[in-house]
């Protein structure tokens, strides 16, 4: 088979549909990555226009352009859009586009999940954009502190858009994170060990793990606050045993890791591009991986530094102050590793490197002012002034936007297959960087003079007028620069001449394919044993196109790729990926009705939509797997591997494991919140504790039948026997857990009575949902056994269900224990 015929045959199998349907049914990672990035740029532009409104308002004192009500919506939405709808989705989009290409694989682990996440992002984002246009946008700050954001301070619908819209969007962050982790661990080129991975894959892995552990506290906080707003459960109302500080803990438990979730992908981009621009290798690969990982861990110990002014005891202030300054160390390791890389190489000043230099000049300042505000006494003065606004823009624009522009100029030839021809980008570069520094250097100063953030105007005569005017002019220059970047990119993407492959002479795998990327990425999967495979073997692209690697034959119309062992990269099994389908967009649409029902308080819509999501989810998984044993399959180069349906740990098992990690973080945050209220909130104890009665304990004990039954079923399946007994026992166990939670709810006073009752109510609700889903899964296993999807060889999916039921049972028992613990102690 010639390379051209192989290309045609593979394209026929892997291509998205043609015409308008393509945008709705594609599951291809290149398509979805680009769609993600385009939508996130749209949100960046909207948020940028809001920033210009802010600067227009503040350009002169006593400006009558906006009143406080409009101004509050504008700055709240500017922050919200930039953080949640631009920065995080931009990381997801870039990684979804790049990751399989960098790793030498054909697609991500769960292509339909990529599409589902994308559509959740689009629908959730449009809720917020609608609120903005309708003038009912959230207006209590992007941090949404209750009681201001609760019914007391905001009786209108505004905060509901934030709580519900953002939670909807976070589905995409969690699903992308699960997908990225499983892809990095299992979907690499054959032979690529973890230590041979391109550096960006390490950053993506660490960032995704941080999303899985950093976002759940925010999701939990949003759920609790929405429950308070909609149904009066008093988690944050001090009179009924709540505490507004609980929100601040949950929010910053998310919010600080968030800063590094934004910075780390940008650092990954720099670590990838900078050595190529300097024609050398990265200095200290191992050091950088260690630094990124320790940033990931340390960033979870810093959240309190956003709360230095809330009256935290001096000793904990000292601890968190130390942790906050310590986090500068791994950042310094990376900065000096990059400067060292430049020093040992021969830097060539192309556009990507220019933007990286802009990063250095900006981010270092942001880091230094960051150390300043980590010193508590100084923070007491600077907190909530424009000094902080300037600091965070130096960190986020310098540490994310500039590196993303480097990425844009670096990978644009890959995306378009064209060469940069027009030179508008250089003018744009100077407008953006100079405009930026004028705007925000001035802002530090006016902040030190005492101008508070979130005030819609100021009085003349305090020496602020000239500084604010300069800052606004800088802002407009920067905006013109960004507009020019977009013109530059569009023009170069649309009409520039075709470029040659690998224009930067880079060594990583994404340049081993024709550009724009074919739908299947690589015509065959070549073994890799170097961090720069293209430098180690320059004939690699040709040999891949000739089909010399694994899976070089297009066969049976199936989308085939390989899964490898986590550490060694040895090929382990053959994966068949799903093809084009409208299922993800349909499911996201129905999910949207679930959130819409909550938002507009049409509560009958909510269970209806939930049933719809469950039905679609059952359909989603029904098509997976195989009805017969196939045995090992040829994958080329003389190797035979088992198909995915006949292994014990299919990708779905790993996906479930990491999903449960996020779920467990949510549950842990709930227990943390409970303990926090119990020990810190005024107005405890509640009127009455829940008392454990023997009947409840007996029913709860029966819940262990769930995990037990599934283990019996597992054993029976291995021996080819019937699953009825095992699955039946498991169902009994789950029903017992449901009953126990129901009994507690029956005995509980109304959840509006006290924060304790509200918390127990949420714990029981959590159990009901998880055990209910477990019951559905158990029933589905029975149906799939009857339909012939399970056999002694095909046991993987039963193990996935077992994982879920183990988790559901464990958390149900922990919830019951937590509910009755204070009653037992007192």
């Amino acid at each position: 088979m010639t390379a051209l015929r192989r290309h045609r045959a593979l394209t026929k199998i892997w291509a998205s549909e043609s015409g308008w349907r393509r945008w709705f049914s594609t599951v291809n990672h290149s398509d979805l990555g680009l769609m993600f990035m385009c939508v996130s740029v749209f949100h960046f532009l909207v948020a940028g226009v809001l920033a210009m409104l802010i600067r227009a308002q503040l350009a002169s004192p006593r400006s009558a352009f906006m009143g406080a009500d409009v101004y509050n919506q504008v700055f709240t939405m500017h922050g919200t859009l930039m953080m949640f709808l631009f920065a995080i989705p931009m990381f997801e989009g870039l990684t979804i586009y790049l990751l399989p290409k960098l790793l030498g694989s054909r697609d991500l682990a769960f292509p339909r999940l990529t599409a589902y996440g994308f559509w959740c992002y689009v629908f959730g984002g449009s809720m917020l954009i609608f609120a903005l246009i309708a003038g009912i946008a959230p207006d209590s700050g992007w941090f949404m502190y209750p009681p201001l954001s609760s019914t007391l301070g905001s009786p209108g619908i505004n905060p509901d858009f934030w709580l519900i819209g953002i939670t909807f969007v976070e589905i995409s962050a969690i699903s992308a994170a699960v997908e990225i982790v499983v892809t990095v661990l299992r979907y690499r080129a054959p032979g690529m060990t973890l230590a041979k991975m391109p550096i960006y894959a390490w950053y993506a892995l660490i960032t995704a793990m941080m999303i899985l552990t950093g976002f759940p506290p925010l999701i939990l906080g949003s759920i609790l606050l929405e429950l308070e707003r909609a149904f009066g459960l008093p988690f944050f109302q001090v009179a009924e045993g709540g505490d507004s500080l609980l929100w601040q803990h949950l929010f910053w438990l998310f919010g600080h890791p968030e800063v590094y979730i934004i910075f780390l992908p940008a650092a990954g981009v720099i670590s990838t591009i900078l050595p190529v621009m300097a024609r050398t290798t990265l200095l200290g690969y191992g050091w950088i991986v260690a630094a990124a990982a320790s940033l990931g861990v340390l960033s979870f110990g810093l959240w309190v530094h956003h709360m230095f002014t809330t009256g935290i005891p001096h000793l904990s202030l000292a601890f968190f102050s130390a942790a906050s300054t310590l986090v500068a160390v791994p950042t310094a390791v990376q900065i000096f590793a990059w400067i060292g890389t430049l020093t040992k190489g021969r830097p060539e000043l192309h556009m990507p490197l220019r933007w990286i230099l802009a990063f250095f000049a900006t981010f270092v300042i942001g880091g230094l002012t960051g150390v300043m505000v980590a010193v508590v006494p100084f923070d007491w003065q600077a907190h909530d002034t424009h000094f902080i606004v300037a600091h965070l823009h130096y960190v986020l624009v310098g540490g994310f936007v500039f590196p993303m522009l480097a990425a844009l100029y670096y990978w644009l030839p890959h995306i378009t297959g064209r060469k940069q021809f027009f030179r508008l980008g250089e003018t744009a570069f100077w407008l953006v960087t100079l405009g930026f520094h004028v705007t925000f250097l001035a802002m530090h100063w006016v902040g030190l003079l005492g101008q508070r953030r979130r005030t819609e105007t100021y009085d003349p005569g305090q020496g602020w007028e000239a500084i604010n005017l300069i800052s606004s002019i800088g802002g407009f220059v920067m905006a013109i620069g960004f507009a020019l970047v977009i013109v530059d990119v569009v023009v170069n993407a649309a009409v520039a001449i075709r470029g040659r492959r690998n224009p930067w002479r880079a060594g990583t795998m994404e340049w081993a394919m024709p550009t724009p990327a074919p739908a299947y990425n690589f015509a065959s999967l070549m073994p890799v044993d170097s961090r720069e495979p293209l430098h180690a073997d320059s004939s690699l692209p040709l040999r891949m196109a000739r089909g010399e690697g694994y899976l070089g034959e297009a066969r049976n119309g199936l989308r085939e790729t390989l899964a490898v062992a986590i550490s060694t990269g040895r090929p382990e099994y053959l994966v068949i990926l799903p093809g084009n389908t409208m299922l993800p967009i349909s499911m996201a649409f129905v999910t949207g009705f679930f959130f819409l029902g909550l938002l507009i308080k049409v509560y009958w819509l909510v269970p209806l939509a939930a049933v719809g999501v469950i039905a679609l989810a059952l359909r989603w998984v029904w098509g997976l797997g195989s009805r017969q044993d196939q045995g090992p399959q040829e994958v080329g180069r003389g190797l035979s591997l088992p198909p995915v349906s006949e292994v014990a740990d299919p990708p779905g098992w790993w996906g479930m494991l990491f999903l449960l990690l996020a779920d467990a973080t949510l549950f842990g945050s709930l227990l943390f919140g409970y303990a926090f209220l119990w020990t810190v909130a005024p107005n405890w104890p509640p009127p009455a504790w829940m008392q454990p009665d023997p009947a409840l304990l007996a029913i709860a004990a029966a819940a262990v039948l769930g995990p037990l039954g599934l283990r019996l079923a597992q054993g029976a399946l291995a021996r080819g026997r019937g699953l009825g007994a095992g699955l039946g026992l498991a169902a009994l166990g789950l029903i017992a857990a449901l009953l126990a939670a129901g009994l507690v709810l029956l005995h509980l006073p109304a959840p509006q009575t006290h924060a304790y009752d509200a918390t127990v109510w949420v714990l029981m609700g959590y159990s009901l949902v998880h055990c209910g889903v477990g019951l559905l899964m158990t029933g589905q296993m029975a149906a799939r056994r009857v339909a012939g999807f399970l056999s002694p060889a095909r046991r993987g999916e039963l193990r996935i269900v077992q994982l879920w039921v183990d988790y559901a049972t464990l958390t149900a028992l922990l919830s019951l224990a937590a509910a009755v613990l204070p009653g037992v102690l007192s």
């Binding site: 406080a68 509050n72 500080l245 009256g311 000292a318 990376q334 060292g340 020093t343 007491w380 005030t455």
Partner: protein, 202 residues
Amino acid sequence: MHPAGPAAQHIATLWWVMLAGAVAIFVFTMLLLALAFRKRRDEERAEQGREGLWLAGLGLAFPLTVLGALLVYGLVIGERLMPRDHPDRVTVSAEARQWEWRFGYADRPGHATTGLLHIPAGQPVDVEITSVDVIHGFWVPRLAGKLDAIPGHVNILRIEAWEPGDYAGVSGEFSGAGYREHRFTVRAHDAAGWTAFLEGTE
């Protein structure tokens, strides 16, 4: 920043020290970056790309030293700002609501003022801060840093004014539509004025 009391003075000094250090570190880093672009022979380049120098030296040892020193300095200043026992200490209370401040006085029970806080000059004053609705912040920039007013909690801030006079105070935590106009004044009295205030004969 024009400090008018010991707390604000300490913080202002801290700021100037940190600014000087930050400028020095920034210039140093940019210099290293610029040096990477000068022309050299290949052997020189290889020689200059040692991991020990860049990572262990500049990446680890350098920031650890600087940050360690800064941390100790910050903690010492933090200790000085603590509301410690003092023979002349005066206690007042500040209760925030949308969008008003009410002040009470331990030495003149039953008396309350709105929007105007009376204190004696030259004496440490502990302000017991709380809120009855949403979160607010108590901030008199020329006297001290800010501390939040949180419903259900009482936070104590130590302030002191060297000279008698009026000092502008603002709320330091976003609280909705009336946030900008949520202000108050701190009036520091001389000894005679403070006695008169306590006796209600001002």
